[in-house]
Amino acid sequence: MKAVDDVSLEVPDGEFLVLLGASGSGKSTLLRTIAGLEHPSAGTIRIGGRVANEDPPRRRNIAMVFQSYALYPHKTVARNIAFPLEAIRLPAAEIREKVEWAAQLFGIDRLLARRPRELSGGERQRVALARALVRTPTLFLMDEPLSNLDAKLRHAARREFKRLHEQTGITTLYVTHDQVEAMGLGQRIAVMNDGRLQQIGTPDEIYHEPANIFVAQFMGSPPMNLIPDGGWLTGFHPEDVFQPDGPVPDGHYPLPITVQQVEALGADALIYGTLDAGGAELIFKQPARTSGGLAAGQSVTFCVPQTMMRRFDARTGLSAGKG
């Protein structure tokens, strides 16, 4: 059983790369292998151009933030942040200075005397980041660092990660299963499935030019619609459709559907329907105010600009470019 198979990935200096995949896709294993916590059965790991396969984790000068934050429960915040510096035997005065600097950077200087159990989830995360950053690593590894936070904090933390990366310019590998996080944070995204790399590219490329059906269906919420069309699958994102005022304009693909269900989500509404020709199940996403009149059982024609449509080979699942 291989958790990660034949993955080749190059991260340029200073990049923020997101590894995106469902649980069990091998993204965490890949990260742990880079950290040196797992040993690859084949292949090379280079960090800063140097082969690091035989280096134990502590020689790789990397920092990692675990999902659980893995703070040392018996140490104060100050001692937690100081730990990586103590390990490289920095003089005490220098350690104190750096700890204060890192604490200030994350606004946790008033928490330095506390122990982890006295901190909130957001504070713990900041401590973990401060500890990771204090040694100025060459590579930052983050394993789902936001999944223990509630939705509101997560939003703030995303902005903070971005700011942090812009300030420090440290190469960052960030693992997540959350595509919104991936789109928002990554300069590039590597989508993984079944231990294999599916596609690597900018968020825009991943979203608009998915390399295969897996990526197409993984990105976006709800996922891309796929309509079988002979040996091909035609795909388009749920939000790219609209209801034409009159007849379907030129260069647009008509989508006559029977509405099954309408779900109002506040700003948007999801329209579930079946295509009249062929009966494919489709999901459309429309601004709530334009879909107010729709109800289940209604027949209605939507259309999608042909420039927004993508074609996939139904047999191989690979993208064949624009529809």
């Binding site: 502590r58 920092a63 703070l71 040392y72 429960p73 018996h74 990586p84 040694r135």
Partner: protein
């Protein structure tokens, strides 16, 4: 039925709860409460096994004890044996547990063998140890003689053919501590092993990435995180050894010449064999405040360090 119907649900719950708790209360009162009260009563009276008559003499039993050199010696021995056993169990237990954490083939067999001394009845194992420490046929002596450490002039363990493990006061104390460590090491190891297993893998990996080598991880992360576990080990070992009578009773019966007398054996010899129940009860009661104090102290420590 009529009576049952007039009871509210809450009253019925209370009645059921009482019924459930009653056996435990009875058990504690009969087997622990009454003997302790009885011991207190005896200790304040002049009682002998010979007659049921009791004569109240206040604290004279305790005053008498404090004046006896044997009593002072027993207290000293009790603390010495307990402390040395504790230190031995903690150090060896940590080493053993740490070794048992590693992936080794046949780990279950090693764990089983390590647990064995604990499952053996105390009297049985003490008798085996009696042979090990036998004044003439001790296998330990064979080994020492074979190594040239015993039985010739200038040898480390003396120029006699035998070491007389239980016959010389210092060696006898050492032997008792050795047997106690042997008996309690399995329990200590298992408790510490459980603690080691409870250290989250994330934290160890984080420490590894943070640049900590093996010893830094051990002394700065693992051992400090195990302090509550050590507290439990100390508590168990202390209470067990402090109030244990079997090792000393079977190995030396307090000898030679009271050199290994501990509080439980002294209480037994004075109270039951010597017949002065009052004096014996006073001796035994001396264990109580010490055990209580140690328990409270350690439990408080564990609670403070709880994570």
């Amino acid at each position: 039925m009529a009576a049952a119907r007039t009871l509210s649900l809450r009253q019925r719950d209370t009645r059921l709860a009482m019924g459930m708790v009653l056996p435990a209360i009875l058990y504690i009162v009969l087997l622990l409460g009454i003997p302790i009260v009885l011991a207190v009563v005896y200790s304040l009276n002049d009682v002998t096994t010979g007659s049921p008559a009791m004569r109240f003499i206040g604290l004279r039993n305790f005053q008498g004890l404090l004046a006896t050199p044997d009593f002072a010696r027993a207290i000293g021995n009790t603390f010495l044996i307990t402390t040395c056993t504790l230190v031995g169990v903690l150090i060896l237990g940590t080493i053993q547990a740490e070794l048992l954490m590693r992936p080794v083939r046949g780990k279950w067999l090693i764990r089983f063998l390590i647990l064995l001394p604990w499952t053996a009845p105390a009297s049985l194992s003490a008798i085996a140890w009696l042979w090990m420490f036998d004044s003439t046929f001790s296998p330990l002596d064979w080994i020492l003689r074979g190594l040239g450490l015993l039985g010739h002039p200038g040898a480390l363990f003396g120029d006699f053919d035998n070491a007389f493990w239980l016959g010389r006061s210092g060696l006898a104390l050492f032997s008792i501590i050795l047997v106690n460590v042997w008996r309690l090491l399995p329990l200590g190891t298992v408790i510490i092993l459980a603690g080691l297993n409870g250290v989250p893998r994330d934290i160890l990996e984080q420490a590894e990435i943070d640049g900590a080598g093996y010893f830094r991880r051990l002394f700065h992360i693992i051992l400090p995180m195990l302090i509550p576990v050590f507290g439990v080990t100390v508590l168990f070992t202390f209470v067990f050894v402090f109030s244990d009578i079997s090792t000393v009773f079977i190995l030396t019966r307090g000898g030679p010449a009271n050199a290994t007398q501990v509080l439980p054996t002294l209480a037994f010899f004075t109270g039951v064999q010597g017949g002065s129940l009052g004096r014996g009860a006073a001796t035994a009661l001396f264990l109580l405040p010490v055990l209580a104090a140690v328990s409270i102290l350690i439990l408080a420590l564990i609670r403070r360090r709880e994570i």
